[in-house]
């Protein structure tokens, strides 16, 4: 099969005066028409053809580099964004969050739960803090269960103290705590 240069040479030899596409009569087959139509658009000047060819080959050489740089920049930005997203997800997945724990017993203390209630346990550095926010009573511990146990201990201590103290000797804060504590726990007879 003839290469492009051969086709150009042949066309220029056969139709030296033409710069228009060949007619049906001038072509042997559909394939020939297609090939010649393309060939006609190429400038006759051989120098231009060479220059175009050179430019094209340079572009061919540069194109992968340009594409590489564009895609590397794009990829770098995308990786940065993904890394930030992964870090955020990691932090939220690894760092323990506050948990709400139901309290249903005060064993081994001689107290019973009047009605089950919830406390909030949250991490503070490498420790945990359990809080009964309604009554402003809190306690900390090395583990979640220790923090809850310590909170129960403080609640029992306050209950006993406030019951001894008498309501008339309590300021607004402890008075509120006393009302809440009485609603949550009761000393076993």
């Amino acid at each position: 099969m003839a290469n492009r240069q051969t086709v150009v040479d042949e066309f220029l030899r056969r139709f030296p005066e033409r710069d228009q596409p060949p007619t049906w009569q001038e072509c042997g087959s559909r394939q020939e028409i297609y090939r010649r139509k393309r060939v006609v658009k190429i400038p006759r000047d051989t120098g231009s053809v060479v220059a175009l060819s050179k430019a094209f080959s340079k572009w061919q050489a540069l194109a992968p580099l340009i594409m590489q740089r564009v895609s590397l920049g794009f990829l770098a930005r995308r990786i940065d964004a993904l890394e930030a997203e992964v870090q955020t997800l990691k932090r939220s997945a690894i760092s323990p969050r506050s948990v709400i724990v139901p309290i249903e017993t005060f064993a081994p203390y001689p107290f019973e739960v009047v009605k089950p209630f919830h406390v909030v346990v949250e991490p503070v550095d490498d420790e945990f803090e359990a809080n009964l926010y309604d009554a402003n009573i809190g306690a900390s511990g090395d583990t979640e269960s220790e923090a809850i146990a310590n909170l129960k201990d403080i609640m029992v201590n306050l209950f006993e103290r406030y019951s001894k103290e008498g309501e008339q000797n309590l300021g607004p804060g402890p008075a509120k705590q006393w009302v809440i504590l009485k609603g949550l726990l009761n000393k076993r007879a």
Binding site: E127, S140, N157, R161, Y162, L170
Partner: protein, 94 residues
């Protein structure tokens, strides 16, 4: 959340507020009185490590962790704390 009030701070706060400290269960319970009435109470964990967290004390005193820290250190006095409680209407004004 960072630890702001340690056991050492808790003991200083109890001492600064003139709290009555009572050893009960796992805690030393601190009771603060004002004009004969019990106005605040909090537990101090009984352990040898001075840096154990006691951030919950600020809630028991009805102040922020920063003020609780100032109370443990020099700047905030017992009178200032009483005034804060009065401002918040957690104590009757004179």
């Amino acid at each position: 959340m960072a630890r702001i009030i340690t056991r050492e701070h808790a003991l200083k706060i109890a001492s600064k507020l003139g709290a009555e400290v009572e050893a009960r269960g796992k805690h030393d319970m601190a009771y603060v009185r004002h004009e004969g009435k019990l106005i605040a109470s909090f537990g101090i964990r009984r352990c040898s490590q001075k840096d154990k967290g006691h951030d919950y004390i600020s809630k028991a005193l009805s102040i922020g962790p920063h003020d609780a820290r100032l109370l443990a250190q020099c700047p905030l006095l017992r009178e200032d704390w009483i005034n804060i409680l009065k401002d918040k209407r957690l104590l009757k004004s004179d």
